[in-house]
Assembly symmetry: C2
Homo-oligomer: 201 residues x 2
Amino acid sequence: MAKRVTGPEIEKLIQLLAKVPGLGPRSARRAALHLIKKRDQLMGPLAEAMGEAHRQVKVCSNCGNVDTVDPCTVCTDTRRDHSVIIVVEDVSDLWALERAGAMNTAYHVLGGTLSPLNGVGPDDLNIKGLIDRVSQGGVREVILAVNATVEGQTTAHYITDHLSGLEVKITRLAHGVPVGGELDYLDEGTLSAALRARTTI
Amino acid sequence: MAKRVTGPEIEKLIQLLAKVPGLGPRSARRAALHLIKKRDQLMGPLAEAMGEAHRQVKVCSNCGNVDTVDPCTVCTDTRRDHSVIIVVEDVSDLWALERAGAMNTAYHVLGGTLSPLNGVGPDDLNIKGLIDRVSQGGVREVILAVNATVEGQTTAHYITDHLSGLEVKITRLAHGVPVGGELDYLDEGTLSAALRARTTI
């Protein structure tokens, strides 16, 4: 704003809101005004929830999930099958797979992918923790649910190499046509993979 | 989420973030994860700024602007021409006009428009405050910068009627072609208004 039309506290709020993904400078102003209008119903509770989360959030020392307890809710859930570990790049992938609700297993969050160009090596990821978990026994399958990108596949190869000496089955997500997807819009690689992995009806 | 994969504090944060305009349920999750990752650089300061704003924000008793002081920064700015009052529906309009930077005047925020269908009458808006300000003297022009909607124009008429007995010039924003706008995409009303208000080059 060219001239000051409001207090520095409100301007600071707008500046910080603009750094939240999904909000730009313009929508940060709109969000700030909405929060100010609903200050008792929304801004107060949100400030408190954010402060509470800030104080309590921790990374699970076992699997790398974020939670307010350590070990996390997933790791301590006795109704899950902890002999199967789904390996994901990021917590958001864990959440996405849980929304799909297809499996009821343990997880392991790597915190990224190997990327030598960006200076991300095996020690920067939570790979040693995975090898330790598998080495301790009781794990019969590791499902590599990393992204189908070059970095994701490189990471999957690295993990496969390092788990190969252990008594564990290593699997990866199937490639194929997305449910609801139109063939015309798919790339050749996906179509080839879907054809090779065709199933009998 | 089908099953709990994280603490209730984080789920509450996501629920509240989803109520912020510009964020839906999906982007609220993404925003929450980003905040958790940047918890010391972003989540902590944002929680504090929001709490601070929540404690300090007040509505200016003179003009209806939101600020952390009352009277607000605009009302106490001695470099402004307080004999001209720009009347706007909402604080966001005040901020938008200030970004344009064309005027250096006082403002009056109505807090909405007359809308009998929605049960909004003159007493629900900050109209009496405007009449009081003009009645006290020292105001030579009131610029009605309400939206060019039916409700906005109804409100403008109502205000004009109630200020007509007072010694003050009442003006409204010009209608015309938006700067950078293409004629082909404009409605007939705007084009007619732009033709009627044509100016000599």
